[in-house]
């Protein structure tokens, strides 16, 4: 049984009221959430301490200007918050944060997490061109029609985990047809339940923990299997992999925005990855030509080897790729295979050890000699 707080108002207003309540009662000292900036249609993550400033907050705005899990990890890398802070994160952002915590890159102490059953976000390149609220309105009206919003990221269309894992409070959004008049908060933890005390609304119990509407779930499943089939055709095999990444400009933007890629200096930017005179000689002799700068594909394969097990499929990488390579789709496919191999779900729980840190005597026997 889960405690549920039901409210007779739209989710966008309710979440702000809830956050205001948290700040005003002193339950938290600040809220980490998306906030509108002075420029029109620009949102960015902000830390809000003044309840009045919550007017500018826009927690479920359908844009991800950065994976908040990565941002939170950088803030709490050296020390945790000393006072309680509420963070509103999308499920993939929360999962990324958990993965980073496991890697000693962030500290969750004093953070209470509020997440949503997510309906996805727009690609950044598209939202950067928005000139009015039209697209945002369309997003919400699609939700109230019981549909998955149009024009969301590929990674969101195929998202396997739109339901958050381990959040203190879960706010159903995707598939909620009465989203603009009613909403409910699932209070998953004691911490969450305590925060909701004193909020106007009806507290009850619900059998269903959290569920995403069946229709949307099956739509996403269908999209996933379609994408998987398509990727088999377009990316599988060395030749197609080479072709897929051939237009890569080596800007490494995918890595820069990846929440899991936390290294301050990437192996592929280190001196070890620089072109050696000897390699130039050998390659010239062998092939008559060598692409420079070299190592375009090696970078992606190396990155996959480093982070695929923890890939949360957030889609930031595809969003920033100037060469329009379907990075997140390829990484999703590889990530899924690696994660299934170890029965591992990145971000499911802080306690679940990263497979590479666990020794099993009998493991992967099939690849042994």
């Amino acid at each position: 049984m889960t405690t549920i707080l039901k409210m007779n108002q739209g989710v966008r207003a309710a979440i702000k009221d809830f956050l205001r309540h948290l700040l005003e009662t002193g339950a938290v000292h600040a809220v980490f959430t998306l906030r509108k900036q002075d420029s029109p249609n620009v949102v960015s993550y902000s830390l809000i301490a003044d309840p009045e400033k919550l007017d500018e907050a826009t927690p479920f705005y359908p844009v991800m200007p950065g994976n908040a899990g990565g941002l939170l990890s950088r803030i709490t890398l050296n020390e945790s918050f000393k006072d309680p802070v509420a963070a509103v994160l999308r499920p993939c952002e929360l999962r990324a944060f958990v993965e980073l915590v496991k890697r000693q890159q962030g500290n969750p102490a004093n953070i209470v997490t509020i997440s949503s059953i997510c309906a996805g976000v727009s690609p950044l390149k598209a939202s950067a061109q928005w000139e009015s609220d039209q697209q945002v309105d369309e997003y919400w009206s699609a939700i109230s029609n019981g549909e998955l919003p149009p024009n969301i990221r590929d990674s969101c269309r195929i998202c396997e985990h739109p339901v958050p894992m381990g959040a203190d409070i879960v706010v159903p959004v995707a598939g909620e047809e009465e989203i603009d008049s009613k909403c409910s908060f699932l209070l998953n933890s004691e911490k969450g339940a305590k925060l909701a005390e004193g909020m106007p609304g009806e507290i009850g119990e619900t059998e269903q923990e959290v569920k995403e509407v069946e229709q949307i779930r099956s739509f996403r499943e269908k999209q996933r299997s379609e994408l998987a089939t398509e990727l088999e055709k377009t990316v599988a095999g060395l030749e197609r992999v080479i072709e897929t990444f051939a237009s890569c400009t080596s800007c490494h933007g995918c890595r820069a925005v990846c929440p899991i890629c936390y290294c301050q200096l990437c192996e592929f930017d280190s001196s070890r990855s620089e072109l050696k005179a000897q390699v130039v000689e050998t390659e010239l002799r062998k092939r008559g030509g060598i692409r420079i700068p070299p190592g375009t594909l090696a970078f992606h394969i190396g990155r996959l080897a480093h982070m695929a097990i923890s890939c949360v499929g957030c889609g930031m990488c595809s969003d920033v790729c100037p060469a329009e390579i379907p990075v997140s789709s390829v990484f999703w496919k590889v990530g899924k295979a690696v994660q299934e191999l170890f029965d591992y779900t990145p971000g499911r729980s802080v306690e679940e050890a990263i497979p590479i840190t666990v020794f099993e005597e009998d493991e992967l026997c099939e690849v042994e000699d």
Binding site: S39, S44, I75
Partner: protein, 366 residues
């Protein structure tokens, strides 16, 4: 220009240039060549010494996926014993020269072949629309290419680092000019017996380039004035950069930003969770730190003197910030103070590396 050679180019400038390079390799004038190659996936810089691969050379690709200076850097960062001819745009050559002043390229054995540049299409537009129909004329050039004055060597005393220049403008489709621009360049033409002194064609070429340059110069003034209006004052700057998501793509593709680990990524300026909370308490709300504008101001402080206005940064910005135009504007102003032209020559010192007793007195305390 009194010297030069007219290169027949009935099969296109690329074929003509490829033929020329082939001869250079055969005559062992160079050990290898760096040039853009057409592959099924687009255009990449390739180091090659294979005559057959030369057939795939494209002298002037319609797009710049990688700034050529980065290719030169990757090849010569640790010194370079091979004699290499490099075929590139002037902005790429100039960036490679800036990098040599910053000890990131070794140009000792590098022979620069510049090519008249008609500008490039922004990479995303190119990939989206032009891949299947490269002749689509509706595609706009990069904003900075539209206002570039240094696209050709004709009548250009602002660039002196090119050894040999390929002139194509104003010549129709069937010929190209090889203009020597250094002693080494003259030497190569002499060795190959290429010295037809095509006076008339050189005139045609210079005239055409002059016409285009005048238009560009005018357009540049307008474009920079336009950007200046947008970024004037703190408010303007904040607004222009407010969309920045700090992916730092602009920095990673910038040929001048060579630091292995950028100051902005070092985390030295990172606030602790509590600092951040205190700031939020004071201001009511604080954007995720650091404020992106700081990154851009810092980057401009570091690299604007050497900015070659190639426009790579703007190409890769996922949120369409006119970052190239802003940096180019700032660069014009900072360079102006020191009368410095990035990539003009290898000998011209970086202003920051040079001490002048009497300098910038106007900003001194009196």
């Amino acid at each position: 220009m009194k010297k030069g050679h007219l290169l027949p180019a009935q099969e296109g400038v690329s074929q003509a240039v490829a033929g020329f390079l082939k001869r250079c390799l055969e005559e062992k004038i160079f050990d290898a060549v760096v040039a853009p190659l057409d592959s099924h996936a687009g255009y990449n810089y390739v180091l090659l010494d294979d005559g057959e691969l030369l057939d795939k050379v494209v002298a002037m690709p319609p797009v710049m996926p990688v700034q050529g200076a980065k290719a030169v850097q990757s090849l010569t960062h640790h010194g370079n014993s091979k004699k290499i001819a490099v075929v590139m745009r002037l902005c790429e050559i100039r960036a490679a020269v800036e990098l040599s002043k910053l000890r990131q390229t070794d140009l000792e054995n590098v022979f620069f072949i510049g090519v008249d540049c008609s500008g490039v299409i922004p990479l995303p537009d190119y990939l989206e629309r032009a891949r299947d129909k490269p002749k689509d004329t509706e595609l706009m050039l990069r904003p900075l290419c539209q206002v570039c004055e240094d696209f050709s060597l004709a009548g250009n005393d602002r660039v002196t680092v090119v050894d040999l220049h390929v002139g194509t403008m104003g010549l129709g489709d069937s010929s190209a000019l090889l203009i020597p621009s250094s002693a080494a360049g003259e030497d190569v033409l002499r060795q190959l017996g290429m010295d037809s002194k095509p006076v008339e064609e050189v005139n045609q070429w210079s005239t055409k380039v002059g016409v285009i340059r005048n238009e560009r110069r005018k357009a540049r003034k307008e474009a920079l004035a336009d950007i200046k209006k947008k970024v004037s004052g703190l408010e303007g700057l904040l607004e222009v950069f407010s969309q920045c998501i700090e992916c730092h793509n602009c920095q990673s593709v910038c040929p001048i930003c060579y630091c292995r680990l950028c100051f902005a990524d070092k985390g030295t300026s990172a606030d602790t969770a509590d600092d951040y909370l205190q700031r939020a308490n004071v201001a009511g709300a604080v954007r995720h730190l650091p404020e992106p504008l700081l990154f851009h101001l810092g980057r401009m402080a570091h690299m604007s003197l050497s900015c070659v206005s190639c426009g790579m940064c703007e190409d890769v910005c996922p949120v369409s910030i006119p970052v190239g135009r802003v940096v180019s504007l700032v660069s014009e102003e900072t360079r102006g103070i020191f009368d410095y032209m990035p990539g003009r020559s290898v000998e011209e010192e970086l202003p920051l590396a040079r001490f002048e007793l009497e300098e910038l007195t106007e900003v001194e305390d009196v």
